[in-house]
């Protein structure tokens, strides 16, 4: 075990797989522009390349390379940059296997950051996870710890399908214990980050930290929140969430996206169908307020869900507790 920042843990996951499998490629903008780049030094320019600012071609090339037997990892920096290439992400990569009747597979990883609520303002701070999660053929990963970042990246690279790997930018420098050597975290297995019997709180990415901080404060009031991190939203481990709700009867979902663009809403819909019998209170979603993310610091903080709003939501669902 080593203490590593989140960003280094992702790199470690990629490095691990590139060493293991020569078919893994790593490319994107503004990397590998000198021989000193650690991945270039280790794996050479054949497998590690800088690309122009051409996301459509970058992702499209990854698809072709994947169909030809390679395993590309594309560094995209911000998830928003995928929007200029959204057809490749949602209407090409995940369709080829299906449309060919299973003749091809398209193993690739689209690595992108998101949610960088640090003054990056209108076009660089979005939380677009929900746009990807419902696309058949695509898998979507949202780690919240350094260890998961490494292990989920490694699993993403080994997966035979296109995977969107979303790195929350505010976690970049968060340190955590990361297993040395080969480390893999399975897809479709949620993690209970904190156990509790009074209320289930589901969150992804950086919102997991805020949920945990809220849970700590709530514990001081005698409220035990169970905090669940789905880790992958496609596939989604609904069982773990339903199991927790069966126990607590109460569900609060936290999401950095605006109200109608959330993973939270989708999960709420699932629980309202499959876990209805367990529910003792309304399912509350704590989401961003409905605005583009503003630049000014206090406004940005006002728009993004914070501890106080999570705590208030939990108190709300417990109000009618008997």
């Amino acid at each position: 075990m080593a203490q590593l920042p989140f960003i280094a843990a992702i790199d470690a996951g990629i490095h691990q797989e590139m060493r293991r499998d020569t078919s893994v490629l790593y490319f994107g903008q503004n990397l590998a522009t000198t021989e000193n780049h650690p991945f270039v030094a280790a794996f050479g320019h054949e497998r590690v390349r800088v690309t122009p600012i051409s996301e459509t071609a970058e992702i499209g090339i990854a698809i072709g390379a994947a169909m030809a037997g390679l395993r590309p990892v594309v560094e995209l920096y911000m998830a928003e940059f995928m929007l200029v290439a959204m057809d490749q992400v949602v209407n090409e990569a995940p369709r080829f296997r299906y449309m060919s009747g299973g003749q091809v597979k398209v193993p690739l990883v689209l690595k992108a950051g998101f949610g960088f609520a640090a003054g990056w303002a209108g076009q660089h701070t979005g939380s677009l996870t929900a746009m990807f999660m419902g696309v058949p053929g695509l898998k979507v990963v949202v780690p919240s710890t350094a260890a998961d970042a490494k292990g989920l990246m490694a699993t993403a690279i080994r997966d035979d399908n296109p995977v969107v790997f979303l790195h929350h930018y505010l976690l970049t420098l968060e340190h955590g214990e990361v297993p040395d050597g080969e480390h893999l975290v399975p897809f479709g297995k949620a993690e209970i980050r904190r156990a509790g019997g009074d209320v289930t709180v589901v969150a992804t990415g950086w919102m997991v930290n805020r949920a945990l901080a809220a849970a700590t404060k709530l514990a001081g009031e005698g409220i035990q929140a169970e905090v669940i991190d789905p880790r992958t939203v496609a596939p989604l481990d609904l069982e773990t969430i339903l199991g927790s709700v069966a126990k607590t009867g109460r569900l609060v979902l936290v999401d950095q996206a605006p109200r109608h663009a959330t993973v939270a809403g989708i999960i709420a819909g699932d629980v309202a169908e499959h876990g209805f019998g367990s529910l003792k209170a309304p399912i509350i979603q704590v989401t961003a307020r409905d605005a583009t993310v503003p630049y000014s610091e206090p406004l940005e903080a006002y728009v993004i869900p914070d501890e106080q709003r999570i705590i208030a939501a939990v108190r709300g669902v417990l109000e009618n507790r008997r």
């Binding site: 459509t56 072709g64 030809a68 390679l70 090409e92 449309m99 398209v106």
Partner: protein, 342 residues
């Protein structure tokens, strides 16, 4: 570099492949009237482009790859795909090349080097470059052919990919089939080079890449032009943009309509939309299939009798494909949920 000329036998092979494409497309077209309802969605024919397709594919070797668009029936026929399985796919049957999941727009036959198509204009161009990157890494002199239309050159994907392919010297040849139309839009109505009277191959200058224009109605000319580009790519010299000038002899695709409305192939847009009957009739007179037959027969390469025999043989092959496809069952319902993930 100079490309070796084709001997008589290969020329006849070229002619036969052209005829097979034509005959297949005619069978597809007839299906709309002879077997109404059997073909759904949108179907795009390659008639008029046969010389361009076959002339390009003469150079195809084991290990090479090809990617194309929704207008994709011609290529796999030449590469060796079974027309029975192709027709079954177009009819949505269990024995289809893609198990009925893809349909006319998405024929794929990996075993024969046809990696697939995108129905989104321009989107398949980077895929071809990606396959070429894999070929570059493998270092076996394999090459990738990327086919697309003139309209596709107006998509960002074209631009972004050609720059990278040139920069990385990828072993790929971009064959733009310029058929003068994007559905009902004339090339000069949407392309600044065309409007200025310039060839579309000039676009290659924006990528420091060779760009050439060829008469896509002449399979031997295409054979030479694409052949040079392929040799260059195999030798590590990088990509080429080939503008192959063809004339699409059918309408863009069958009628677009919701279920219930019988589908058919409408009149060509040159006539139906622009009233350019002369243009269309000139194109018919220049039809590359009889044109090449004429060349071969008058050059003494092929006798009329032999040419007729080929025609009969090919017609039989394609009607067998139709018969096979008609008899093939529909896929099991649950097969709709297979192959979503690998």
């Amino acid at each position: 570099m100079s490309v070796q000329a084709l001997n008589a036998e290969r020329q006849i092979w070229v002619y036969k492949q052209m005829l097979r494409i034509r005959e297949f497309e005619e069978s597809v077209k007839r299906s709309f009237t002879e077997h109404p309802g059997v073909i759904r969605g949108h179907t795009h024919l390659a008639d008029g482009a046969e010389a361009s397709i076959v002339g390009s594919l003469v150079h195809f070797r084991l290990g090479d790859a090809l990617l194309a668009t929704y207008r994709c029936h011609g290529y796999p026929l030449v590469l060796g795909s079974d027309p029975k399985a192709m027709m079954a796919e177009i009819y949505g049957r269990a024995d289809g090349l893609c198990k009925g999941l893809g349909g006319s727009m998405h024929l794929t036959d990996v075993a024969h080097g046809f990696l697939g198509t995108s129905g989104i204009v321009g989107a398949g161009i980077p895929h071809a470059a990606g396959v070429a990157w894999a070929a570059q890494i493998r270092k076996r002199g394999e090459v990738v052919l990327s086919f697309f239309g003139d309209g596709a050159a107006k998509q960002g994907a074209f631009h972004e990919t050609l720059n990278i392919a040139s920069l990385w010297k990828l072993p790929v040849v971009f064959v733009m089939e310029n058929n003068g139309y994007n559905v009902v839009t004339l090339t000069a109505q949407e392309d600044a080079n065309a409007a200025a009277g310039e060839p579309l191959a000039i676009k290659a200058k924006a990528y420091a890449m060779p760009g050439v224009t060829v008469d896509g109605g002449d399979p031997l000319a295409v054979h030479e032009t694409v052949g040079e580009a392929i040799e260059r790519a195999r030798a590590g010299g990088g990509p080429t943009l080939v503008e192959s000038k063809v004339y699409r002899l059918s309408a863009h695709g069958n009628l677009i309509a919701p279920p219930g409305v019988p589908l058919h192939y409408p009149e060509h847009e040159a006539i139906a939309v622009f009233g350019r009957r002369d243009e269309y009739e000139a194109a018919l007179r220049g039809d590359p299939v009889p044109r090449f037959r004429g060349t071969l027969v008058s050059g003494g390469v092929l006798s009329s009798r032999k040419a007729d025999e080929i025609k009969v043989e090919v017609a039989a092959e394609m009607s067998a494909a139709v018969a096979f496809a008609l008899k093939s069952p529909f896929p099991r319902l649950e097969s709709a949920l297979e192959n979503v993930y690998a």
